[in-house]
């Protein structure tokens, strides 16, 4: 069974081209950067102008999931932005009074996400988003590991960072507790059996991503190494002629005032 043409043109093709757009957008050459930015804008437009209902395909449901997350994500990101730049930093500081507002926005983002989790699972006309459980269990599993790592990093590498480490440990433990609660009790809309199945499947996906991604990176490093190895030793450079030496000395004398 082949996908419909609109999915190929307005979902898969833009996604496949996105690494090219990112690569061009970060190139040194100005013209390439412009092409990359234009390509990224076109990719965004193609994804936004999805011609059919989002509940008509698995791909559409992914876009719906992204749209559902815009609210809590924006609240969290703006909150982090305000809290970060209203702290005692010398780079583009905001008024100090904004800092509590930033933390409040971050808390709002977290509360919004919890509300979606327990009370309002993303859905269209009563049909729940099929990727929601996969996303939530992936997020909580990743948060346990990443926040735990960040906490350990703060305490091992930092200087007197106990407070920061304890907050990161709290995030890690809270994510773990929430994950276990979902697996044991479920939510209003979903039985724990579905959460357990989603979490169990996610473990397979995440482990596969680690192995497959790691293998791909090792392959890439091997290709780069082979390329470097084949380049050979560069030819020896001829020593400077007497005229060239004189010219170099002249330039040095003009600029550094050597020998005076």
């Amino acid at each position: 069974m082949l996908p419909e043409q609109y999915l190929l043109l307005q979902f898969w093709l833009p996604l496949i081209l996105s690494p090219l757009g990112v690569g061009l957008a970060i190139a040194k050459d100005q013209s390439r950067r412009r092409v990359g930015q234009l390509l990224l804008i076109l990719i965004a437009i193609a994804l936004i102008l999805h011609p059919k209902g989002l509940d008509a395909s698995n791909e559409g449901w992914v876009l719906h999931l992204l749209m559902s997350l815009i609210g809590p994500l924006a609240a969290f990101l703006f909150g982090a932005w305000f809290a970060l730049f209203s702290g005692p930093i010398s780079v583009a500081p905001l008024p100090r009074s904004v800092r509590p507002f930033g933390f409040a926005l971050m808390a709002l983002g977290a509360a919004w996400f919890l509300w979606m989790l327990f009370m309002a699972r993303p859905s269209i006309d009563g049909v729940s988003n099929p990727w929601w459980q996969h996303f939530v269990t992936s997020l909580l599993t990743s948060l346990v590991v990443v926040a735990g790592f960040a906490g350990a990093f703060a305490i091992i590498m930092g200087d007197g960072r106990q407070k920061e480490a304890s907050i990161m440990a709290l995030i890690s433990l809270a994510s773990f507790g929430l994950l276990i609660y979902l697996l044991a009790e479920g939510t209003e809309s979903d039985d724990p059996v579905f959460w357990r199945s989603a979490s169990w499947g996610v473990l397979g996906d995440l482990a596969g991503m680690l192995v497959g991604g790691g293998l791909a990176l090792a392959t890439f490093v091997t290709f780069v190494w082979l390329g470097e190895k084949r380049m050979g030793v560069p030819n020896e450079v001829e020593p400077l002629s007497s005229e060239e030496s004189a010219r170099v000395q002249e330039i040095l004398a003009d600029n550094v005032e050597v020998g005076e």
């Binding site: 992914v62 596969g208 390329g227």
Partner: protein
């Protein structure tokens, strides 16, 4: 000042923390899986599909980024051809395992459907991983920069002028 041995010890400790957390999550899932009802998710098939598709996607992305960042002095033949061939080899292997019957539950058994479902799952998981990094390190950065440090005394010192003064 930390020596090289200290750095190795620190990173070893961090690796142990990460491994311990991964084991903790796995054991918790296994415990609840064994105790309660669960659907047959075909974890082995999902793992194999995820390995192959991650391999294809990472190599494909590296191929496109290599093309985007190439320039006239770059020696990219091995890099570009290697990543392209690795992606193609991964795609062929994926087709072979689907033909061999190692398919996912809950999706049609043709190659495209199996590919699309796994690719979407990986993209959703990628999004979740990115968000986890953003949330954790966003909060950590906000907290770390919140500490007030005493002013750096070096900032008060005058720098020496290296300009040649005319007599």
């Amino acid at each position: 000042m930390t020596s090289e041995g200290d750095a190795v010890r620190d990173w070893r400790a961090l690796s142990i923390v990460v491994i311990a957390l991964v084991v903790l999550i796995f054991v918790a899932n296994l415990h609840l899986e064994v105790r309660g009802e669960v659907e047959d998710v075909g974890i082995f098939s999902r793992f194999i599909h995820s390995v192959i598709l991650s391999f294809i996607m990472v190599n494909g992305a590296l191929f496109l980024i290599t093309l985007a960042l190439s320039h006239k002095h770059a020696k990219i033949v091995e890099q570009a051809l290697g990543t392209l061939f690795a992606s193609v080899a991964g795609a062929l292997l994926f087709g072979i395992i689907i033909d061999a019957g190692l398919t996912l539950n809950g999706a049609p058994s043709d190659v495209w459907s199996q590919f699309a479902v796994t690719a979407i799952r990986l993209m959703v998981a990628d999004l979740a991983i990115l968000l986890a990094f953003g949330i954790s390190f966003g909060v950590l950065l906000t907290l770390v920069t919140g500490r007030k440090n005493p002013a750096d005394p070096l900032l008060d010192l005058n720098s020496t002028s290296f300009e040649v003064e005319e007599e």
